[in-house]
Symmetry: C2
Subunit: 348 residues, 2 copies
């Protein structure tokens, strides 16, 4: 492993993560370095021989690129906890350990999401005061993009957890989207504060008494409308709504196809519109936003889809650099420690 | 109130329910009667004078149509429980009482959903053995339509409630969609039976030991794919996913509009495709399916959107007739009584 120069950001990427690894990972890494004129250092973790072969194919040797060998591959069938057990020599475990040891600043993977979350939480540990790390998801909105927390890291979240998600998400949206005072909405079944399940009722109370820009409950219809910059919910509903949203493009494509089959003119028109449709569908594809953050761990972890393209990998690396630069974790640490003081004066 | 002939199905409709009442209600009612050649009897409940005026305008007098006066209107701002309190003379309360007294077989309303659910539950009572009535929602799928229970009547449902929703929904899907052995999916964050929150884990166990055609967990992406004929979930997530789905058309319209503005050719093409787009969007509009059922109450209740068109009202009335004819409630009563025997042998 060649050393990065002083002050240079070092990003570890899981070379074996994703359906098209290591090819897409390597191609994405090289374009990230090319586009930024080698602004940072990238460490590819995985089977060294396979990585070298792929690099030779594309003549991708670069002094800002180093390789750390990891013997094992953790795939979609492995249990998340195997990062600390049977697969501790996997690219995910070895990659996260590099960050733990201070040899890197961020870890990026398109591999097994559960395993990356486990590695992040178990190896890096949590930011002091954070009860549970949370994974974000980006939703396109009529006017931009919004962040949803939690997108599936936590089911059965308690109000305190949702409150922490709101704090972490507000900091993220402020730093990464440049929104001065991000609007926080609590995902619920009605706008009135008396609506919802027990967890929602209590969370509404906590958020109402916080320093956050809490705009109250938002409903399912508000997510794409962009009513809030940050939508807070339990990971059970967050994950279901995210996967539902991701399925909309293929549903629409199948419906458009059915209509196209009803006439040649329509077929022609739909054919000509294909580019536009693709763009609209793309705005529903969260991969475009460059991976999602795992917030609340003692480090920077960016997680991507298994089907990540080289472009998605590139975007994830750029997002990782930005997350390190903007000192998201330092800000979360500060805010969470202040929250603990605040919380004490909140009525139960 | 003129009497209906023997064996004729009698459907009460809330003439004051919905944003365009009584006009849309009366127009929808008249087309339902016209289309079916007066196959059933309709009782319009509401302010008699307003109803008469509207009927005169369209020369809608019909011997299969009668009016029952209700002095009050319960609107969207009234609390659901007001059906038994301050608004017991509302069209919703009076209409449901007609069914309770055996003077009608079904009640249809596009009014305040919460109030209609309350009236159904509190006035008609529950089918013996049903813990909580449930409201359904229809989702278009790539190949047809699926039913989701619960769409918002119950938050904080327990496993036993979800199990009952699965039984009621299976009977409904069998009778109304003509599916022999409806596939039941439990909405969850992963396919494996070890996934999900506590309620989902226990419900999976209950459904696995039932006589239902339980296909296991389904994810958010499976709803529009049509993996299951019946999707079972708590009303909190059901309501959020329903409202999210309903917002997709307006999100897409705004995106298409943005792209149309980028060039005249695209604008022309999109203009020509408007009809197709409208059809695709319509398949996302659950109102087209003729209102949703409130299952588990001792009677037939069909609930529609506040913005119901005359066509939606007509479809709701036809759906009410079909629900009565197919003896859904008798079948639910039988199945629920058998369930109670079954449940005892299910491990906890």
């Amino acid at each position: 492993m060649s050393s990065a120069s002083l002050n240079e950001i070092r990003i570890v990427i899981d070379a074996m993560g994703g359906d098209y690894a290591p090819r897409n990972v390597i191609h994405g890494t090289l374009s990230a370095l090319r586009e930024t004129k080698n602004r940072f250092h990238v460490i590819l973790v995985g089977k060294e021989k396979e990585i070298q072969q792929e690099l030779q194919l594309v003549k991708g040797q670069n002094e800002n690129l180093s390789i750390v060998h990891a013997e094992e591959i953790l795939d979609m069938h492995d249990a998340p906890t195997s990062v600390l057990k049977s697969k501790r020599n996997s690219s995910i475990s070895v990659g996260v350990v590099l960050q733990k040891e201070g040899k890197a600043d961020a870890f990026v993977s398109a591999g097994n999401t559960g395993a990356v979350m486990s590695a992040g939480t178990l190896i890096l540990g949590r930011i002091p005061g954070v009860s549970r790390p949370t994974i974000g998801a980006f939703f396109p909105t009529e006017s931009g993009v919004s962040l949803l927390l939690d997108a599936g890291a936590n089911v059965d979240s308690r109000p305190q957890h949702l409150y922490e998600f709101a704090i972490m998400g507000s900091i993220y949206a402020n730093a990464m989207f440049g929104i001065q005072n991000p609007k926080v909405g609590l995902l619920n079944v009605g706008e009135e504060k008396t609506k919802g399940n027990e967890v929602a009722l209590e969370t509404h109370n906590l958020l109402s008494h916080s320093q956050l820009n809490f705009i109250g409950n938002v409903e399912g219809r508000d997510v794409l409308k962009g009513t809030a910059d940050l939508v807070v919910c339990d990971g059970f509903v967050g994950n279901i709504i995210l996967k539902f949203a991701e399925s909309v493009p293929s549903f629409l494509k199948s419906k458009f196809k059915q209509y196209a089959e009803t006439g040649t003119l329509k077929k022609l028109l739909i054919g000509s519109l294909r580019g536009t449709l693709r763009k609209v569908f793309k705005s529903l594809d969260y991969e475009e936003y460059g991976g999602v953050p795992l917030l609340g761990v003692n480090g920077v972890i960016i997680i991507g889809h298994g089907g990540s393209s080289a472009k998605a990998i590139k975007n994830m690396i750029l997002k990782a650099e930005e997350t390190v630069q903007k000192k998201i974790n330092e800000r979360i640490t500060k805010a969470i420690s202040e929250m603990n003081v605040e919380t004490k004066i909140v009525p139960a």
